[in-house]
């Protein structure tokens, strides 16, 4: 079956998929022959096809994380041929399509590897360490009730735009997966930076900067060595400058806490 452009519409791939029964299992790679994969399928749809075949053969399907499949929820993961979310820049695994691969390719599929992201099963990992970081200060405290008048708190456009850039972080954990040290600095920096930039976030700025970094350290993530693999892997293109701001705001927060 050949398309108009001379490219086959169906790919014959060899998949090397990480299989692991649970957090305590050692895990290993399994080779799966995968003929007849449509180039129009997303990467996760390709795994769906593989799982249907495995179930048909009476075998255990491959567990993997997914939810919205629209690139906005941050639930999908996977390290594909050594790159978090695969070879396409600024693209989540669910938005990656099989046309990015060639007929006859061998694809290594691994889970996000970090001590703070233990494998639940196969390719599915527990990223609740990110929730603990958010609980450390990634919020603002407001009285509930009627929504306030939007124009009561004027925010300059550049500030709002910058905060929105940071808010684009979907918390997928690709930054941790890509970092040579499994550091979560880009995630923490984006989440803290978003709120620290805005007037509504000023009241808890000091506690937020300290609390989120403390939670990050406690969760067992590594340390940022400024190699920016996180920035390259981020599907939402969060900029490394948020890490600079976190370094600055954390140091200032410590000085404020101890001296004022």
């Amino acid at each position: 079956m050949v398309s108009i452009k001379g490219q086959p519409n169906l790919l014959h791939l060899t998949l090397k998929i990480w299989r692991q029964d649970g957090p305590d299992d050692k895990g290993h790679f399994v080779d799966i022959d995968a003929p007849g994969i449509p180039t129009s399928a997303s990467f996760l749809e390709m795994l769906d096809i593989i799982n249907e075949r495995l179930i048909g053969e009476g075998k255990d399907p491959v567990a993997f994380d997914h939810d919205c499949r629209e690139g906005i929820c941050g639930m999908c993961s996977l390290v594909i041929n050594g790159v978090a979310h695969g070879p396409e820049k600024a693209t989540t695994t669910c938005q990656l399509h099989m046309r990015s691969f060639k007929d006859g390719d061998t694809i290594h599929i691994e889970p996000f590897r970090a001590k703070a992201f233990p494998v639940i099963k196969d390719l599915a990992v527990d990223r609740s360490a990110f929730d603990s970081i958010i609980r450390g200060g990634g919020y603002i405290s407001v009285r509930t009730g009627a929504a306030p008048e939007a124009n009561n708190t004027p925010i300059p456009k550049p500030v709002a735009d910058a905060a929105f850039d940071a808010a684009a972080c979907i918390g997928c954990g690709a930054c941790v997966a890509a970092c040579k040290n499994a550091s979560a600095m880009l995630f923490v920096a984006a989440k803290a930076g978003q709120l620290n930039s805005l007037p509504q976030g000023q009241a808890e700025r000091t506690a937020r900067s300290l609390g989120m970094v403390q939670a990050m350290d406690k969760a067992g993530f590594g340390n940022c060595t400024n190699q920016y693999e996180c920035e390259a892997a981020c599907p939402k293109e969060i900029d490394r400058s948020w890490i600079t701001r976190l370094n600055r705001s954390y140091t200032a927060a410590f000085a404020r806490k101890s001296l004022l």
Partner: protein
């Protein structure tokens, strides 16, 4: 408000605090590298200039300044290494299972080999101190003293670098130092929170320029001795 002592301990126990110490001590050591190079380049100005500079260093503040500098530098080196070890151990522990396929998209080669280049620099620093400061087995004791009765630093330098093996080791070590600095200097601006999107490129160029100047400046001295330019 918590007590400053408690807060300092908390800061030093945190990932960013430890990185800040590594960056700040790195800044001190970068200052030393620049100052040491500037002084040593006086070898090209002649014997009197270099020996006068050496005498100034030894006599400034009645000989106290050099010991203050030595203490600050030793403290910086110890802190730089100690906190790097703590950070590196945490980094190794943070990923127990490595990837079967490892791809580097953005990290520079210098950034990936900071520990190795750092260890080689430490080895060189120990050798360099034993060679020129402690003057172990280099034959410097046999050299005549200068007119003030001090060690003739100019002659020591020429005798030391006349040994091809010493000069080769020196050049390799300086290459390692420059490689270390190519990442370390730009990383320092990032960790200290100084870099911004507008200044990032400038700081990266400063780091590259400083590492190139470090290599060119320091290696020019043994090469000048070996080629007979300085004799």
């Amino acid at each position: 408000m918590s007590s400053p002592a408690n807060s300092l301990c908390g800061f030093l126990a945190s990932s960013i605090g430890r990185k800040w110490i590594v960056a700040f001590t790195g800044l001190i050591l970068v200052g030393f590298i620049a100052g040491h190079l500037t002084g040593n380049l006086l070898v090209f100005a002649g014997q009197d200039a270099l020996n006068a500079y050496a005498a100034f260093l030894h006599n400034f503040l009645h000989g106290g300044a050099i010991w203050i500098a030595r203490c600050v530098l030793l403290g910086s080196v110890v802190a730089h290494i100690y906190f790097t070890i703590l950070l590196t151990r945490a980094n190794r522990a943070a990923r127990e299972q490595r990837y079967a396929v490892e791809v580097t998209q953005k990290a520079s080669s210098g950034s990936k080999w900071m520990i190795l280049s750092g260890l080689l620099i430490l080895t060189f620093v120990i050798f360099h101190l034993l060679h020129y400061t402690v003057r172990v087995g280099a034959g410097f004791q046999d050299l005549p003293l200068d007119s003030e009765g001090h060690f003739d630093v100019y002659r020591m330098l020429i005798l030391g670098f006349s040994n091809v093996w010493v000069s080769t080791f020196y050049v390799i070590s300086i290459a390692m130092l420059s490689w270390h600095l190519s990442h370390g200097v730009s990383s320092m601006f990032q960790t200290l929170g100084i870099s911004t999107p507008n200044t990032r490129q400038l700081f990266d160029r400063i780091a590259l320029g400083f590492s190139v100047l470090t290599f060119a400046g320091y290696t020019s001295i043994p090469l000048a001795v070996l080629t007979g330019w300085v004799a």
